[in-house]
Symmetry: C2
Amino acid sequence: MIKLVVDLMGADNKPKDLIKGAIDAINDIDDLYLYVCGPEDELLNEIKDLNYDNKRIEIVNCNEAITNYDKPVKAFKTKPNSSLIKGLTLAKENDEIKGFVSCGSTGAILVSSTFILGRIGKVRPALSPILGGLHPFCLVDCGANSDVRVDELYDFAKMGKAYMEAYGKENPKIALLSNGSEEGKGNDLVKECYKLLKEDSNLNFIGNVEGKNLLTLDVDVVVCDGFSGNIALKTIEGTAGVIAKFLLDYAKNNNMMKELGPVLYELKNTYDYNTKGGAVMLGVNKLVMKGHGAGVSETIYALVKQAYQLAKNNLIEKIKENLKND
Amino acid sequence: MIKLVVDLMGADNKPKDLIKGAIDAINDIDDLYLYVCGPEDELLNEIKDLNYDNKRIEIVNCNEAITNYDKPVKAFKTKPNSSLIKGLTLAKENDEIKGFVSCGSTGAILVSSTFILGRIGKVRPALSPILGGLHPFCLVDCGANSDVRVDELYDFAKMGKAYMEAYGKENPKIALLSNGSEEGKGNDLVKECYKLLKEDSNLNFIGNVEGKNLLTLDVDVVVCDGFSGNIALKTIEGTAGVIAKFLLDYAKNNNMMKELGPVLYELKNTYDYNTKGGAVMLGVNKLVMKGHGAGVSETIYALVKQAYQLAKNNLIEKIKENLKND
C-alpha cells in the first residue's frame, strides 16, 4: 500500500471542490491510501453520495490554511494547525507515508517541507516541474533557489536524473540551460558547471540548451539556477497565454469558434503543463509535490497519480543514491 | 541628411537578395543617404533596372564576409576587408555617418563595434531588441553580457530609458526582469539593483516584471543581465515557434489552411519581432543595429527606417546624457 498525504487547502479553489480528485484516485488505484487534509464536515458532506473504499481514505480535520498572502517563514512558525503543517508533520512522523501533495503556496511548501522533512544531506532542495508537451523533460530548478553555487547546480543535475529514472526513463539526457547551445556559452556559473557535468561519467550530459529549443530538444533533464529557470518557465506560460488569447479573440471576432475551438483545446491539452501534474521538491527527505494554485479536482487526481508512481518507483532512494556519488 | 552604413553580408541571405530593402528606404525617406557594403558588381546588376536616387546611395565594394562560423575576436583581427569591418571603420572615420546596420553575426558585431567605435565612457555595451507585440518594450540586455555587476545593470536601465525616449516615449516605464513581481524577489543582483533604481528620481521605475507578464505588462524598458535576457527572448521565440508549428500542422492535417491561414498570418505579424526591426547595441559611440540573421529585404528596409528614426532623434546623445547622471 502506498500512503500519501493530500493537502486540499491554501489553493484558489475550495477543498470541497478538490476532493473529488482524491476519490477518483482511490477508485483508480487499488494499493493507494490517502490522508486528506481539510475541513472534515465540509469534505464528508461533499463525498457522502460517492462510491469509494472508505477504508483507504482518512480525513485529517484542518480548518486553517496557509495562503499566498502569508509570509512562508512566519506562517510556518505561527500556523501549526494549518493543513500544510499538519499534513507535513503527519508525513514526517509516519514512516509508512511516502509523500505529500498540495496546491497551496509554493513558498510555504518550500520552507515548511524543508524545515519539517529535512534535506537529503546538504543538498539545496529544488523545485522541478515536468514541461515540454511532445518531449517531456524536468526543469531543475524552476524557482526555489535564486542564487546557487556550481556544486549546487551540479546536484540539481543528479537529482533530475533520479527524478526521470523514477519515471522509468533510462539514462536520462541532461542539458544545461544557457544563452547558446555551443560549449563555452553561458555565464560563469554555467561554464563551470558544464565542465563538471561533462567529466561525470555517471551522467548522460548532452551539452547546453537555449530557450529557443527548450520545447523541442530531445532532452530529459534541464538544469538551471532557480532564477533563470523561473524566467524560462513563466516566459513559456506567458507567451502561450498571449497567443492563446490572441487566437481566442480572433475566433470570437470572426465567428470562428466552431473552427478554432478544437485546435485551441488540443493546443491546451498538449502544452498546458498545469494539467499535467505538479512540480516536485527534489532534495527533501520525502516526496513533496506542488500543483498549480488554480488547480481543480482533475489536478488533484493527476498529482496523486504522479506522486503514487514516483513513490512506487522509489524516487527518494534514487535521489539519495545519485547524490552519494559526490 | 542622415547618413547610415548598411552591411549586406554575413547573413543567411545573399547581398543581392537584401539590397532591395535599402533601395526602398532611399525611395521612402528623402533625407537618407546610404553606404551599402557588399559585392559591387553583383549589387549594381541587381538594382540596374530599379528607380531610385543614385546620388543618395553609394556601394562600398566588399567581397569578404564575417559569418556565424567565424570566431568574433579572430575575425575582427584577421578580416579587415570584410563588409563588417570596412563598414564600421567607415562609420568611425566619417563624422557625418550616424549609424550602422547589419544582419551579420551578433558576436562579431558586438566585438567589432566595441573595438572600432569605442564605448561611451566605461559602460558595458548591451544588446537591446524591441519586443512585445501589443505593448512594445525594449529588453536590455538580451545577450551581450552574461555576467554583469549591479552598476552595469543600473546603466542598462539608463540606456534603455534613452532608447525609448529616442522613439518618442516620454518618461519610459522601467522594470527589472525577476522571478516574481513583488519587491524582494530576485537573485542578489536584481535585489541590489532594485534599490538603486527605486532611489533614482530620474528613472520611472515600476518594479519587477516576471516572465509570465513580460508580453502583457505596460512597460517600456525591461532590464536584465544578458544571460537571463537571452533566455527570456529565446524562450518567447521558441514557444511561439512551437505553437505556430502546432497550428500549422493542425491546419494541414485537417484541411483547414483556408480557415487558419489568416489567423496564423496575423499572429506572426503581431508577435514576430524579427520583422519589426533590429536590436540596438546600446553603449557604443555610434548607433549600431543588428537584424535577424535570416532577414530578408523587408528586414533591411525596417532596420534602416528604425536606425534613421533613432539617429534623427539623437539616440547617442540621449544615452550620453542619461549616463552622465552617474
